[in-house]
């Protein structure tokens, strides 16, 4: 049995500039951190199963990977030429479409685990590239590359997406006091609205031409965010998020909606310095940066807003930042 996991992420600034339609013209940049919520994959070779067995929300048992409904596992098995005798299980700390990059962290964990299964090693750069390629080139997802890199490398980083497809990883080293203090100024809520990143990003992608100046500003602002973070100026970080979110809302029509606006505005009204929707938009999680003494007021007030909109799954998600990336936790197949 092989058990492998990869973290989800919170991305602060620059989302969308990791789309090829943008970074072919100007370097795209995002700043993000891995968090202690993970996608887990288990891979086993049971002696009596000659077929392909895959278990997630449903269970599939097929003769050939071609027949799998699970598109990521199908593509990964076909790419690696694994055609029989495998049992794959999928587990996740959070639901898909939550805006925390869970589908890409799943793909990164899966590929890392399958490499171990065929007794090969893969380094971080290769793994991030392979995961991005699987989703963007093979499965034609209209998404960017940032989530794959965040899941594979772990930690707090700026990723720069260059026109020649190379990616520069610039780690931001925060000492424990700064790290814990920043965590303590964050609030993350799952809105209970799930959405597919693809629809929003498809519109955003098609509008890259008209949005290019806004996106250049987003890409450049990661450095400002980093400098303020290292200086411990969390109030300004909140304001950068607030500006970024209002800028981003102009990029595609469905990035926000009246319910999300209502939640966001309430958070700000209760004292948050700023915030944003995590991920592509339209639903998923919402992040606030707030003074610690305002956190309880924000929590209580958002609970009643969620009730008003009948968001039954609305909930706070406690998180902490992690350095760990896509990792094999156990491999007993020696």
């Amino acid at each position: 049995m092989i058990i492998v996991r990869a973290p989800m992420r919170i991305s602060f600034v620059g989302g969308g500039t990791d789309l090829a339609s943008f970074y072919r013209h100007y370097p795209g940049r995002v700043i993000s951190t891995a968090i202690n919520k993970y996608s887990y994959v288990s891979i086993n070779q049971p002696p009596l199963i000659k077929k392909i067995s895959v278990r997630y929300a449903i269970s599939e048992l097929v003769d050939h990977p071609n027949e799998l409904k699970h598109n990521r596992i199908r593509a990964a098995l076909l790419n690696l030429g694994i055609e029989s005798r495998i049992d794959i299980g999928c587990f996740s700390d959070l639901p898909v479409k939550s805006g925390l990059g869970s589908s890409s962290s799943f793909t990164a964990a899966l590929i890392k685990g399958l490499y171990a299964y065929i007794d090969k090693k893969i380094d971080k750069q290769e793994l991030a590239e392979a995961a991005a390629k699987l989703e963007i080139e093979h499965l034609k997802e209209p998404i960017g590359k940032q989530d794959h890199y965040a899941a594979v490398f772990g930690g707090f980083n700026i990723f720069q997406f260059n026109p020649d497809e190379s990616v520069d990883v610039m780690p931001i080293h925060l000492d424990f006091k700064k790290r814990l203090s920043f965590e303590n100024h964050l609030l993350i809520f799952f809105t209970g609205i799930t959405r597919s990143a693809s629809d929003i990003l498809t519109e955003q992608k098609s509008k890259t031409g008209q949005n290019i100046e806004v996106m250049k500003k987003m890409s450049d602002s990661v450095f400002d965010f980093r400098d303020k973070l290292v200086a411990g100026d969390f109030k300004t970080l909140g304001e950068i998020l607030r500006e970024g979110w209002s800028r981003k809302k102009t990029l595609a029509s469905n990035l926000s909606n009246p319910i999300i606006d209502d939640i966001y505005n309430e958070g700000i009204k209760c004292g948050a310095w700023g915030g944003k929707i995590l991920g592509a938009g339209g639903g998923g999680c919402i992040l606030f940066i707030a003074p610690t003494e305002k956190k309880n007021t924000i929590r209580e007030s958002l609970k009643s807003i969620a009730k008003k909109h009948n968001l039954l799954d609305f909930n706070e998600i406690p998180i902490s930042f992690v350095q760990t990336g896509a990792e094999i936790l156990m491999n007993s197949n020696y």
């Binding site: 893969i122 424990f176 814990l180 350095q323 760990t324 990336g325 936790l329």
Partner: protein, 199 residues
């Protein structure tokens, strides 16, 4: 005599002033990640560097959690000096050769979630490089503490802690390596103390 003492101290101070801060930060983050995934840290070196490795392991496994050895922390570090016994050291050296005294025992332990710290002033000791190459073939993160011009170790390491000096300045390099290893221990000691206070 006074001048002699002052010259040595000046050299150590100058090496300490030029510490590769970014690389030490990388090393700390690598160790943090290893802790989060419950991996193990293997540390090794020759001669004085082996003594530094042994000293660091005792600090890191015990002292880092304070006087009460951190009973409030359910998860601790698993730092292991290689080889972990003199018997293994002499068995590998006598039967196979000195080149394998670290890579040989490392092969027994090595798993995907682990990390290694290699210490070599020249950065070119063959037995050190063999163990580093084994770790690299597993794609494990490598923290390299070297001196002089860094040698092969500094090229291979992910966190390149090079104390640049003239050749043969073992005393200066090992003194500063000792300080860097204590810095790493102190960082995590402060971190766990801070976490305990938050609880």
């Amino acid at each position: 005599m006074e001048n002699y003492i002052k010259n040595f101290s000046d050299e150590v101070v100058s090496a300490l002033k030029d510490l590769p801060v970014e690389e030490i930060a990388k090393a700390i983050d690598i160790i943090q990640a290893t802790y989060e995934r419950d991996g193990r840290i293997y540390i090794f070196g020759n001669g004085g560097s082996l003594a530094l490795a042994t000293h660091w392991v005792s600090d890191f496994n015990k002292t880092v959690f304070g006087r009460d050895a951190g009973d409030q922390h359910s998860k601790k570090f698993q730092a292991i000096r290689l080889p972990s016994t003199e018997s293994e050291l002499t068995a590998w050296a006598n039967d196979i050769g000195y080149d394998m005294v670290f890579a040989g025992p490392l092969k027994n332990y090595i798993q995907d979630s682990d990390t290694i710290i290699a210490i070599s002033s020249s950065g070119n000791s063959i037995n050190i490089i063999k163990a580093v190459e084994l770790a690299k073939s597993y794609k494990l993160p490598v923290i390299g503490l070297s001196g002089f011009d860094g040698g092969k170790l500094n090229k291979l390491a992910d966190a390149k802690i090079l104390i640049k000096t003239k050749k043969e300045e073992y005393g200066i390099v090992e003194s500063v390596h000792g300080a860097v290893l204590h810095l790493i221990t102190q960082y995590f000691k402060d971190y766990f103390e801070y976490l305990s206070k938050l609880k």
